[in-house]
Structures are given as C-alpha cells and as structure tokens.
Symmetry: C2
C-alpha cells in the first residue's frame, strides 16, 4: 500500500513533468511500448570500452529502458554488440561481416551462452552504433525482433549536411532560429546540444557536416575559428561525423596577405597547402572543403581566367595528402552570359569531365534552377561519367513555405533519384549516378542543406523533422521508398497506432504536391517574392539581373505562358540524353507536371483533362488550397493520438498554411489573368483583393535572409 | 517483487531522462525534498475556476507533487487558496487582508474543517498566485511551513522588464540567443514558452513587460504588430503581466503620413490618440508606452523645439483615458552640448519637475553614465520630488562580461537602492525615492533590462538567472537583502545543502566586486571596447563623439588619472544634495570605490592603504584576477552538490572569465603604464603581450550589437 502510493506518485510525476512534448526528442522518443506488444526486457552483454561503443551501449540502454523497461537481474534475453576486433564473443560467432563493409552492420538473432540473443555486429565501431539505432527503430516501429537477419551498408560514401550558418549565428534560409553553433562560446564551451545533434545524425547514418555557409567568410579559416570547428569535431568524432568547412576562394587575399587567389599561382597553392596542414593539425580527420565559386558573386578561379577544374584541383592537392576531399558546387550561373540559367551549370562543367582529381566531388543540385517545389532532374546527372557527382538537396524549405507550411520532401527527393537519365540506356537513374553504380565511381556523396536551428524542435516545425529524417535515410539508401520512410518517421516521432500512421502518411505523401499546386503548378517555377522568397511574387521584374525575376521564368504574355526550352527556345532539352530530351520537348510525351518548364503554350492549349491551360492552371491553384484544407481536417482527427502541445503547433501552422495557400492562389490568378484576359472557370471564386493589394504587400523582417 | 521491479525501473527512468539539467527550470525546480525534511503531502481544497486561480492551483499541485509528492486520498493536511470574493471559505475566515493591498497576499496556518490547514489568501486572484509561489519557495528553501503568519505586498507598483528585442529577433545587448518573441509566427502561434516566461515572472511578482527595444521601429505600432503584441498579452494576462510597447517618437511621420511629430501639433496629438485607441481595442489592459527620446540619435520633442514634458504629456494624454502610463527615459545626452555626459540627464529633466502628467514615470538609470560595473547613484534621485521617478537597472551584462562572466548583480542593485540621496535629510535612500515613500508618490516603478533569450537556460548562463531573480525580488521589496535573495536563489536553483549554499552565496556576493576590480577599479568607468563593449579598450578615442570613448572618462595623462567632477572640474557633484556632493568632492570623505569617478589624481596620490594610486590600481586589477581564480576553486569544490551538466557549463564559463579577467588586467595595466611611466609594484607580473597586441584585437562577430 505504502509502496503503491509511492508508485502512483512517481507515475504522476513522470507523466506531468518528464516529457515536455516540444519535439526536441525527434524520432528518438523511446516511449514505452503498449502493454502486450510482445517486447521483453533484455540485458546487454559487456561491451568493449571505446568512445563509439560507449555511446552505442548507452543508446541501447536508454532505448531499451524507455521502450520496454530495464532488464531485471538474470534476464534470459541478451544483446551482444561490438566488432570482431573488440569482442572475442563476436569474433567467435564467425559472422559474414564482409557485406557490412566499412560502415554497415549485421543484426542476427542467435543463441549465446544458452540464452536467446540478438547480435549487433560490424567491422568498425561506427557500424555498431548504426546497428543499435536500427535495432531500436525496429521496436519503435513495432516490427518483430525475435528472428532477425539484417545486413545493411550505406550505398553512398559521404552523407552530409550543409549548414548555411553564418559566423554571426544567423542562418541563410534558416527558419528554425539561430545557428546551433554558439561560435562565441566555442571552443571553450561545448553545448550538450552538439552531442544531441551528432546523435540524431548518427541515428540516420549521416557522417559529415559542413559547419558554415557556402557564402563563406575567409575569417572561418583563421586560427580562432579552426579551433572552434575543432571543438565541434571532437564532439562529433565518436558519432562517426567528420567536420568540413566552406572555403572562400579569395581567402589567400583576405587572410593570406597575397595579391591574388589565382589557383595557378605558386604562392596561392602554398597558402592552401599550409592552411590544410594547419587545419589537420587541429582536426586530424577533417573532411575537406566545400566551395561555392564564381556563383552569385562569390570569388572563384574564373576571376583569373582559370577554370573550375583548376580551382578544385588546387584545393584537392592541398587536402589530398591528409585524406580530405573537395566538394565543388556546380550551382553556377554567370553575370555575363545571358543564356537560360537552367543551362549554365551543364555548360560550365560538362566540358571538364575527367579533369577533376579523384578526391573532388562535383555537388549538383537536384534541379537546374534552385530547389523549386518541382524541377526536372539536373542535366548534369549522367553527363559526367568520369567525375564524382554528388547530389545536393535542400532540406530547409526556402521555396516551400518556410517552417509553417507542411511539406514532406521525401517524394521530391525520390522523384529526382528515380528519374531516368538514360545516360547508359533505360534504368540509368539519378540514384545510380549518385551511388556510383552507373559509372563505377567510388567517391560518392549526397548533401542536404540543413533545416536545423536553435528552435526547441530543431527544425522550426515538427513535420520538418521528417525532412531531415528522410534525407538521411535516402543518403544511406537512395533506392528506399519515401512512403516507407514516412511511416517509420511517423511511428517513431508520434505514434505507431495504425489509426494515426495511415492517414498521416497519406497526408505527408500528398503534401509536397499540394504545395506545388498552390505555388507553381504545371511546371511553373521561381514565382516567389524577391529576396526573402516568401509568398507569391509572379510580378517580380527588373532589378540586378533578369534571371532573379519571376517574369523571366513564367514568360507570361497575351500569347500564353511557360519557358520554351525546346529547340525553338533555349534548347535546354538538348542537355539531356537524346531520348529524355526528346520526350521533354514533345508535348505528347512530356509529363504535364513539367509542362511549362519546357514549353511556352497558348492560354487555350488543351490539357489532357480537356481543360484549357488557363482553366487547368486556375483549378490547380485551387486544388492546392483544398489540399491544405484536407490536411487540416485529417490532422484535426489525429488529436487522440498526439500530445496536446505538438498537436496545437501543427494545427496553428496548418492554419497559417491555409491562409497563405489562398494568398498564393489569389495573387497568382490575379496576376496571370492580366495576360490570359479570360474569366475564371465556373465555380472559381474571384480573388478577394485587387492585384495592387497583393503587389503592395511587404515583409521587412522575413526570416532567413 | 514484481511491483518493486517496476518501481526501480521507473526510478531509473526518472533519473536518466526526466530532468535535463539545462537550466530551463530556473528557480522553479521542485525537486523532491530530502527524506526526513519534515514536509508532508498536502491536499488542495477546491479552488474557484478563474483563469488566474486555475494557474495558481496548477502551480501549487505541480510544486507539491514535485517537492513532497502527491497527497494520498484523505490526507490530513489541506491548503486553501483564493479570495474572499471567490471563496466563501476564505471569506468566512475574516482575514486581515487589508495589508495585502491590491497585489499582495497573506499566508496563515489555521485549522479548517478540523484539519490542519494553510490558507493562502489575497484580495485579488493575482495575489493568490503570488502567495502560492511564496509558499512553495518556503519548502524549496527548507523553511518551516507549520506555523505561518506571512503578509506581503509589493512596495513598488510597476515591476517591469524592458526587452531590447528587435523586430528581426536580434536582441540589443542580448547574450542569451534570439528574442523569445517569435514575431514571424505571431499572432497565429503562441509558443508554450511564452507561458513559461509569464510563470517565471509571476513567481517574482513582475507585472509588466515592454516587448520591444527602446531604440524602436515605428512598424511595431502598426496593426499587424499590435496583433502580435496582443497575442502575447493574451498569454500573459492571467499571470498578472501587462504588455507595454516602446514607441518611436517620429511614428506620426513614418506610419501616420504626417509631416511632423511635433507634440504640440493637433494632427500629431490626434495620431497618438487614435493609435492608443487602436491598441486598447486589441489589448484592453495595455500598459502604455516606453519612450527613448532625443537620446543617442532617437527622435524626440526637442527636434521641434518642444520639451521632454511636452512629449511625455502628449502621449500620457493619449493613453491616460484607457488607464495607461507613459514611461519616459531620462537617459539623454545631447550631441550639441559638450558638457560632462554624467550631468546631462539631471540638467535636462530637473527643470521640468512638476510639469509631467500624473501618469508619466521618468525612468532613470541607476547611475548617470550607462550601467557601468559601478556608478554612484544618479543625481536625479531625490531631485524631482514632484515627479514619478522610476528606476532602470540593467539585468543583461552589457558592461559586466556578457553571459560568460559570473557577476551577481544583487549587490550592485542594493548599493544603489541603499544609497542616501539626503534629499530630505539623512535616510532619504534611493529605495525610498523609488517606492514613493520619500515624496508621497503613488505611481512607482522599477524596470530591469532583460537578460532573457532563446537559450535553453533563458539567460545565457545559469548564474545570470540570479540577476533576473534578484531584480524581481527587489522590485517587490527594494529594502530586501541581496545576500538573503542570493541564498534563496541558490537553494531553489541548485541545492539547499548548507555545504553548497554557504560557499556559493559568498562567491556570488563577491563576484560583482571582482568584476569591478579587473575591469574598472577605484571609480574608473567606460573603459570597454568600442561598440560591442567586449573586453578592455581603455585606448578607445576619436570617432563620432568624445563621450563614447574611454579616454574621455579616464582622463589619463602623465599627471595622473580620473575624471574631475568637483568644482574644479565638471562640478557634477553640485547635482547632488549639498552634503552628498560635498562628500563626493572631498578626498577625505569620498569612498575610494568612487575615487576616480569624481577626482583626477596624480599617480603618486596616497590611498588609504598607503599604496600610491598607481600601485593601488595595479593591485586591484590583479585582485580581480585572483578573485576569479578563487571563484573557480570554490565552484570546483561544489561538484558533489550540482548535476554534471550545469556544473560543467559554469566551470567552462569561469575558465573564460579567468582568461578575460587576465586580459582586462594586462591590457589596462599596459595602457595606463604608458602614462604613469612607473614600474609595476613588486611581485606584479608583466603583461605577457605588448600593448600593440591588445590594441590590435578585434571581434567582428561579438554578440548583442
């Protein structure tokens, strides 16, 4: 009686104060499984004492205790974790570990010492940690764990986050608060959150992080800042995560006292060699440099008449002896060249295929413009078989409504990865380019522009966590299903109840298409507000350069709308494999989702539905608004399965999204109607405000600039 | 056995995951009392259902459950809370509630329904909430609760935080991350943290908050921003907290379409009337405006030849009918007037005593310069008996080492509050000016410039929480002891163990003097780096205005050092009551802590210790460094009483402080030695770097600018 009173007190205490459902736990929630779920407390066999195995063991303990409770003394089930090198017991099991490779793992049900056992083994400690997270996820997603025979190894070598974090702690295109790097207190103070960050990434297999913005400051390469990066690297190391830095190409001038940054200049080469040596002294496993050169005003080798290859190779030579790599972005477009911006990355890089060092990765954005809600895959994929091509996805939602629009990006990533470049015939998917399979590349990479900040939920909204999660899962396996991943995430993050998982996974899977509908349907792109990229701005024109405007891309006029990239226009289709390009150019073949990306068409052009283009455009905008309505309704129904705190935030954000979807629809319809000069389709409501009103809105403190 | 196994599991769970010791709980930790501490589970009698009483009841429940465990059914002790109006039981007790006033409370041990009872009663709901926090603090600080007869009422009417939070979410002079106001998502989404903030403030009796920076944007007074403020006001209202806004004086021009902001212009007056009406429609209990006018480039009535009284009274007339107030800052100094900056606030305001409306408060900084580590009290205190004078303290440590120097500001606040203005003879303390007692003022105010941000610990460091705490406690009772308050805070925030409380309270009480020693000993002031105010900058000279430099204040030369404010110099002493000014001017009377504030003295001037001024200066700098060493040692010994996470952060910060204290000492000694031309006293180490080195340091991303 006394005891039970204490027990009740404790349970109440736990329920009321222990679990602030602020999202900080991410998908690593480890809440108790339902009674009768069939999982039993399990002991952990002794584990070798290395930095990474200590973490693996602690994670396993934490997960099991949370999910199924601590094992009583003498539990008849045991988990054995480790590597053959560190564990004689595991060595004795003679496991087929070759398939696990350098970073993978093997999970096996076995009998050990006469007890029912689960073995989580790997060739290296980091594989064990990955295996532990995988094992716990099986319980979190309520899969059986009694008869396991899992082997998993990452298909991509560098699985990276790119932080566009500035030295003043702002985050370019960040919608989740400040940078989590508290530069000012580094290197003296390592916020416990750094380890939380590393843990979350390790749970996905992410093994690299670029700390600072690609629009870089040379200062980040000076001694005090190298020390700050070094303090972070120390925290990340046992989690298998290497630190990289964005390098400003003109650093030899700015911090090296040189008059040039010409990559062919011996003094410049010596500067970078010495700088690499200096960094590796502090960070022995430093990953390397990420470089944005000759793009959007950043300095680069072309400033000196040298090429991207000259620049990348010079840096590669500096870090190469230390085992480092150079990641060189293909996101370039010239001030001088008035050609279709979509064509410029290909035009500038394709000629140099085969000329980059082995330790250079060309990092290519998923599409040829810039992370739009929808873009056809970038024509460079498949076009540079003699180069290491890495993928750059954007996780932060610069163009998809910031943190307050719900848009699960799994389908966007999957759409690109499954796109068929036909570079070596059918089945030459982007995924096979990226994972090195198509062209036999060894140094492979996938990067995601992080959506992480100081917000308690890490990502600015609960559902945006799913984008970090799906990015990591696809970097491990680019052939995985974004729907399966959504289901795992929803179960681990919210609830494994099928009454929740079913509707919410459907909601997630449709959410990106909904955003496409209300922002840029039918292949439209780059129609957002200037500079902050918030809200609709199809009227944006003039200013510094034409290809930073909306009118440049929509090409709307009395005659019709769309960007002609066929041979009659910019002929961007010619940058694709012939069969692919031919289809894009052919109105009978091209998918309507990409219609206005490739074609300029009259307002009365007939869509497959029988509607005119104008009618189809308007109804798609409206369908987007209705899609948000439907998401709101579904989410409302989910209240029984979600804690009040997170349910309320998602509800509030969906309300914002609903209002802003309407705004996108109304503003876009108002604007394009000035060209179409046609009435709205029957049943379509007139925009409640005049076009002047929408054009007059301003947002002086929009985040992320 | 089964039950006990579950129990053990639960205890482990609680210990390992429930309490992230990241400081977010502040002083409201409610951890279980030690076994045998003598507190027993207590039931809560039914409470009337009003917004504030619901919160009071929930807090009491949460506190009791955490501290002593939930009460079992039929507990023989009961707590009764409420007001006579809402509780017939309390009305029936016929308590002497008059002494509790509008906001105070009464806590009485009593017998009720034959049970041992504690009664927490007040005239208004907010008093009950304050009383609940007080009652819980008694247990938190391990005071007996069996025989209580407490009555407490605040001595000051407006107890306010001033947030210098900008609309882009940066915080001027903030060292704790971003503004907690997520303006972008307001008013749609109310972060649960807003209620946490209100709760923490209510626990101290703080009843007002100015949301935005005194360097204000007119935009904050437009409809969308009023709505954002309104959403915050809705959250704060049941916690007894009113929202105020900083008003930009030129708003009639910037958002009102007028050509002038002249306070005598009828259109301007109409603008502010209408603006006030608009705000009160959204926020019926809006507190009023805080104004920084004609100061540091801000617009004000003097731009039109009008006076501070003209400006303040115009705004007072706009908010007065709604019950609002205008808080007008006396922190002014003119670009045109080359007089001693310390004299200008007095010179500009004293002549207008008696000319301000009854609903105007003149908000005066504690000292005449700007929140230095030490300043004599501001000469306006006591000098404007016919005006409402409010106190402005700075809680954020702009001039005391940012978040990483440990400096408990209680003694600073107390020193000012206990200073004797002698305005009406001896005993005319600043506290008595501020609480209205000296001059019979009814509208009294104390404001603190907040040190709150998005950092998980709220204040950027654990010990900085104490500065928020002591400000709140002194605003309730300006006669309270900063040492007693430190002890309460240390017990509530860390541990009530006397082996912890004794050394840590001593450490806290000495910490501010230590900072004074290594930064600005003997009355020196304004010696920090330019603009960011980080680190030593005694050589700062030139630039926009002389009184923004260090050399202006130290007046160091071959002949000596110090600012002569006697009749031979600026005669600032004449702004004080004659006896006070005479003492300041007299080398035999003035306290050496203020020596160089008031006097310019030769390097060989003899201090009371027998040392020369030069020797005393150097040894004080060094004493400051030694003081940080001692704090580090004390804190190291506290490891057994503090969780590892918070102990580690404080340790890391003390290490930073140690290094920076040395830097302050070395840089200052190097600089002043160029004037003194004297050797260091015996045993004093030479600065390890040249003066050039110290002068060459730069800090491009210092926070808080």
């Amino acid at each position: 009686m006394r005891l039970s009173a204490i027990l009740v007190g404790l349970v109440l205490l736990v329920a009321s104060t222990a679990w602030a459902e602020d999202g900080h736990d991410l998908w690593l929630r480890y809440r108790p499984v339902e009674a009768g779920a069939g999982y039993v407390p399990t002991a952990i066999a002794p584990v070798a004492d290395t930095p990474t195995l200590r973490i693996a063991r602690a994670e396993l303990e934490r997960g099991l205790r949370g999910l199924v409770g601590a094992a009583p003394a003498g539990a008849d089930r045991v988990i054995l974790i480790g590597t053959p090198a560190s564990s004689p017991a595991i060595a004795g099991l003679d496991l087929p570990l070759k398939a696990a490779g350098e970073e993978g793992y093997l999970i096996r049900s076995a009998t050990f010492d006469g007890r029912s056992a689960t073995v989580i083994a790997a060739n290296r400690d980091i594989g064990v940690l990955y295996g532990v997270f995988r094992y716990l996820s099986l319980i979190q997603t309520r899969q059986p764990v009694d008869n396991l025979a899992i082997v998993s190894a990452p298909k991509i070598k560098l699985r990276m986050l790119n932080h566009w974090d500035n030295l003043d702690r702002t985050v370019e295109r960040g919608y989740a608060g400040q940078s989590i790097w508290d530069w000012w207190k580094l290197p003296d103070y390592a916020d416990p959150r750094y380890a939380d960050y590393a843990r979350a990434n390790a749970s996905l297999g992410i093994n690299g992080t670029v700390l600072n913005n690609v629009n870089a400051k040379a200062l980040s390469l000076t001694g005090p800042w190298i020390a700050k990066a070094g303090a972070l690297a120390t925290v990340f190391r046992p989690y298998g995560i290497r630190v990289y830095l964005s390098a400003r190409f003109s650093a030899p001038i700015e911090i090296g006292g040189l008059k040039t940054a010409d990559p062919r200049d011996p003094a410049v080469r010596a500067f970078w060699k010495a700088k690499a040596d200096e960094i590796y002294k502090v960070i022995p496993d430093f990953g390397g440099f990420l470089v944005k050169a000759n793009s959007e005003g950043q300095p680069g080798p072309q400033d000196y008449g040298a090429t991207h290859a000259d620049g990348a190779n010079m840096l590669a030579d500096a870090v190469g002896p230390h085992g480092g790599v150079v990641i060189w972005r293909a996101f370039v477009y010239s001030h001088e060249q008035p050609d279709d911006r979509a064509k410029q990355g290909y035009a500038e890089f394709k000629p140099f295929d085969g000329q980059f060092r082995d330790n250079v990765v060309i990092q290519v954005k998923n599409g040829a413009i810039d992370f739009q809600p929808r873009e056809p895959f970038h024509p460079l994929f498949g076009a540079m078989p003699k180069s290491n091509l890495g993928m750059e996805f954007q996780i932060t939602k610069e163009y998809l409504g910031f943190a307050t629009h719900l848009a699960y990006l799994g389908p966007l990533y999957e759409e690109t990865l499954r796109a068929d470049t036909q570079a070596r015939g059918k089945g030459s998917t982007v995924a096979r380019v990226i994972d090195g399979d198509l062209d036999g590349r060894k140094l492979t990479a996938m990067a995601g522009v992080a959506n992480i900040g100081t917000d308690r939920s890490w990502s600015g909204s609960h559902f945006d966590q799913a984008n970090w999660y799906v990015f990591g899962r696809l970097a491990w396996d680019p052939d995985a299903s974004s729907r399966d991943i959504a289901a795992d995430w929803a179960k681990m993050t919210f609830s494994p109840d099928p009454r929740f998982v079913g509707p919410v996974v459907d909601l997630m899977m449709g959410s990106r298409e909904t955003v496409v509908d209300y922002m840029t349907p039918l292949g439209l792109h780059h129609q957002m507000g200037r500079s902050h990229h918030y809200g609709p701005g199809p009227w944006v024109a003039g200013g510094e350069r034409a290809d930073w405007t909306s009118v440049y891309y929509a090409m709307a006029g009395p005659d019709g709308i769309g960007f002609d990239r066929t041979a009659r226009g910019s002929n961007a289709v010619a940058q694709y494999a012939p069969a692919v390009g031919a289809c894009f150019a052919d109105l009978r073949c091209v998918d309507e989702k990409d219609l206005l990306w490739f074609h300029h068409l009259p307002w009365d052009y007939r869509l497959k539905s029988g509607q005119t283009l104008w009618e189809g455009l308007v109804t798609r905008y409206s369908r987007g608004v209705a899609g948000v309505d439907a998401m709101g309704k579904t989410w409302g129904d989910m209240a029984p399965y979600v804690d009040a705190e997170r349910h309320a935030q998602v509800t509030a954000f969906l309300k914002i999204q609903r209002r802003e979807a309407q705004w996108w629809r109304d503003a876009s319809v108002s604007w394009f109607q000035t060209f179409s000069q046609r009435p709205l389709p029957a049943g379509e409501a007139l925009p409640p405000q005049s076009l002047d009103y929408y054009q007059g809105l301003s947002f002086p403190y929009a985040p992320g600039i």
